[in-house]
């Protein structure tokens, strides 16, 4: 069966599709309200392809021209993507075709599915990863375009629908928690983020949280590896 990887990938992406439809459409709508038509919306969604950065980008596109600042802001907002790369080095190893596309499309949601889903033996991992990445990429672009094109899009009440992505990450977090005997890493992630959020506030906590996470993981390396050895 040629399409079994697609069949395996599609159901996993349905929550992402729901969340993207809402957030992407809201982005397209926001762009339109700032005078950007479907052309720019499509180009930006297809090339930048990073939800929170695109929202931050609206501000960059409507204030004074400052390309260096735009680059720095992008590096800060998207720095977490490097963590996904480090985590996927092993899993994306040996994939020849389309590896560049997999890396290009390594957003929060795609990473979450591709890292945590246990693949059946008879499924080609490269094709599976590709379909997850490609589907999520397509949902996002289509949603952004829809939001830009359709007038009076939000006459129906979608308030709170964006919570679907929060629920999506929470469920993956629980699944990972259950699958692991040692919860040190998960707790480090939670606590570093909460502590930095309280200290630095919601607009400045990402980089400190990332640094604290790396530092804590290295600090607790002997402890984590000790428990892992005992499990084996």
């Amino acid at each position: 069966m040629k399409w079994k990887e697609l069949k395996a990938a599609y159901p996993l992406t349905i929550p992402v599709m729901t969340g993207y439809l809402f957030l992407g459409a809201a982005y397209g709508f926001l762009m339109k309200s700032r005078g950007f038509g479907v052309g720019w919306t499509a180009i930006i969604s297809a090339t930048v392809f990073a939800g929170s950065m695109q929202y931050a980008g609206v501000k960059l596109l409507t204030s004074t021209f400052n390309p260096i600042y735009a680059l720095l802001i992008t590096l800060v907002v998207n720095a977490r993507h490097s963590f996904y790369g480090i985590s996927m080095l092993e899993k994306y190893k040996g994939i020849k075709k389309l590896k560049a596309f997999l890396i290009f499309g390594l957003v929060d949601e795609t990473f979450s599915i591709n890292y945590s889903h246990k693949l059946p033996q008879d499924v080609d991992k490269g094709r599976f990863y590709f379909f997850v990445t490609f589907l999520n990429y397509t949902y996002w672009i289509v949603a952004c375009i829809i939001g830009n094109l359709i007038r009076n899009l939000f006459t129906f009440d979608t308030k709170g629908l964006d919570f679907v992505l929060t629920a999506f990450f929470v469920v993956i977090f629980i699944d990972q928690w259950i699958s692991q005997k040692n919860h040190t890493s998960a707790l480090i992630g939670l606590l570093s983020s909460v502590i930095c959020l309280i200290i630095f506030g919601q607009n400045r906590f990402i980089i400190p949280a990332m640094i604290l996470m790396i530092a804590s993981l290295i600090f607790f390396k002997p402890h984590i590896e000790h428990i892992e050895k005992e499990e084996e």
């Binding site: 260096i68 977490r80 290009f104 308030k159 919570f163 629920a167 998960a186 570093s192 993981l217």
Partner: protein
């Protein structure tokens, strides 16, 4: 003063460049043929669990616990998701059930 189309294009190009740096950097630093340093392998194994905790907090960063409704819709929905997921282990039920609970609570109960 709005940006000219060329300035928009340059700004967008910078956003693309920045995003691609963050995504490609690990793969460029550690190509398949090169031996990956032990610390990076260790981080590659432990970071995913830490980063998922981070993503949960990242999604909830805008929730205020000092102003009304004190994060109650989020907290209730999270408790629901934990309970139903541990009970049924059905990803769809947990995600969409939690979302519906959240939407109902934030409109009807904690207005």
């Amino acid at each position: 003063m709005p940006l000219t189309p060329v300035e928009v294009l340059i700004t967008v190009a910078m956003m693309v460049l920045g995003t691609m740096i963050t995504r490609f950097l690990p793969f460029l630093c550690f190509p398949e043929k090169k031996k990956v340093p032990k610390y990076i392998t260790y981080l590659g194994k432990t970071l995913p669990y830490a980063v998922m905790g981070f993503l949960v907090i990242y999604c909830l960063k805008g929730v205020s616990i000092v102003n009304k409704p004190y994060g109650m819709p989020e907290l209730s929905a999270l408790i629901f998701i934990f309970a139903i997921h541990l009970w049924k282990r059905n990803t769809f039920l947990s995600i969409f059930g939690g979302t519906i609970i959240y939407m109902l609570l934030s409109r009807l109960v904690f207005v």
